[in-house]
Amino acid sequence: MEEKKKENLKRICIPGQRICRADTSNITGGKGTYTRQGYICASLAGYIHIDRQEKNSVIHVKRGIEQNVVPEAGSIVTVKITSVNPRVCKCSILCVEDTELREPFRGQIRKEDVRSTEKDLVELYKCFRPGDIVLARVLSIGDAHSYFLSTAEDELGVVISISEAGVPMIPGSAEMQCPKTYVTEPRKVAKVIPEHIAVEKKKA
């Protein structure tokens, strides 16, 4: 235990500390580092982790606890729908990838970003309702008010939804059914990849 502690202490770094030279072709700086004057330097206070892959090794600096993140273009986010109108759907971003945010950011899903096919025939009220939890991808930073999000992929869409009776609904292919009243409500459902289901069935 003591030896492990001492070894870890060696790899503590602080902002501004030089880690290694950057000009060797098989070392790149990852999260928590920046390059200056030919050296890779740390920008956070934490531990140095080296990800060794075949040709490349990437250096990260990780803290013991979670850091604050900000949604980036291309990342998958978990949002909660706050309001729906015929043109755009406003939502509040709760998690980015697997990090929960301390304070939500604002996002919007435009009518043309809901599906990849038949974009002009989309009716937003039949895709999302307020209170739904949706998986989406960040398209861009957007305008001053909110991030632009898209669910135009099979794996993106509504994950959890509460029916009008107040019960969580069971997902179908293009709609969700309430287990209490058996009423189906149309939604843009997130499809789970079939391989996943096969793994779960084997376990059972």
Partner: protein, 246 residues
């Protein structure tokens, strides 16, 4: 006349320090659970608290948001009981606004702002007791709080206020030394690269002495850096051992 009191013939200052000695610095990180990062620092009798929130969504007028970098929002506040004479306005008066702007400009140089476009980082600094070197202590406290919050920095920012009496530069001046007159130089540097982030000088100083005073000030900042560095390393090791490092 004033010079004789501030620096004795044997080379001792009013509180018994040598001209190049800093005051006793005690600091702690992670003092608050609500804030994303927090720190408390005592430099002699000057006591400062810093809290950092962010990065989070822009608050207030969205038009102030910048599309390519993060907006840094600072607030410098002095408790009404922090000075000898009761301060009527803790914040919003001209001196506080000037300090706020200086802090903002200082940290814009140190924080890697391009990582969080259209977001905001709040830095709140509260002076509980003011005994000289307010700005410097605030910068040191805010640096620790930013490191605690995990906001990527190019380097630490360390600051120090230096006075000049009897051809001798005096590092880390207290309130009494500040008010008895003489030129004062406040400098904030990035210690590793020795780059100056902020430089402010008050009162008259002959140009020939500038280099000497500046060198002493930068050396003072580096001494502060050594102390802050050790505190950060201990804090990181402590967190990892309590959470469970990989």
């Amino acid at each position: 006349m004033a010079g004789l009191e501030l620096l004795s013939d044997q080379g001792f200052r009013l509180d018994g320090r040598r001209p190049h000695e800093l005051r006793k610095i005690e600091c702690r990180m992670g003092v608050f659970a609500q804030a994303d990062g927090s720190a408390y620092i005592e430099q002699g009798n000057t006591k400062v608290l810093a809290a950092v929130y962010g990065p989070h969504e822009m608050r207030g007028s969205k038009s102030r948001g910048l599309h390519h970098k993060v907006l840094i929002n600072c607030q410098y506040s002095m408790a009404t009981f922090s000075t000898g004479e009761r301060k009527r306005r803790p914040r919003g008066d001209r001196k506080s606004q000037e300090m706020t702007l200086h802090l903002k400009q200082t940290f814009e140089a140190a924080i890697m702002t391009q990582l969080y476009p259209r977001s905001q980082i709040d830095i709140f600094v509260e002076v509980l007791q003011a005994d000289g070197g307010n700005y410097s202590t605030c910068v040191n406290a805010a640096t620790l709080a930013l490191v605690d919050a995990g906001i990527p920095l190019k380097d630490y920012v360390c600051a120090c206020t230096t006075g000049f009496v009897n051809d001798t530069p005096m590092v880390d001046i207290s309130f009494v030394e500040e008010s008895l007159g003489g030129p004062q130089l406040t400098v904030a540097v990035l210690p590793k690269s020795e780059q100056i982030v902020l430089l402010e000088m008050a009162s008259r100083l002959h140009v020939d002495y500038l280099n000497k005073v500046l060198k002493t000030a930068v050396k003072g900042c580096k001494d502060v850096y050594v102390i802050l560095d050790e505190v950060v390393r201990n804090h990181v090791a402590q967190i990892a051992s309590s959470v469970g490092s990989e």
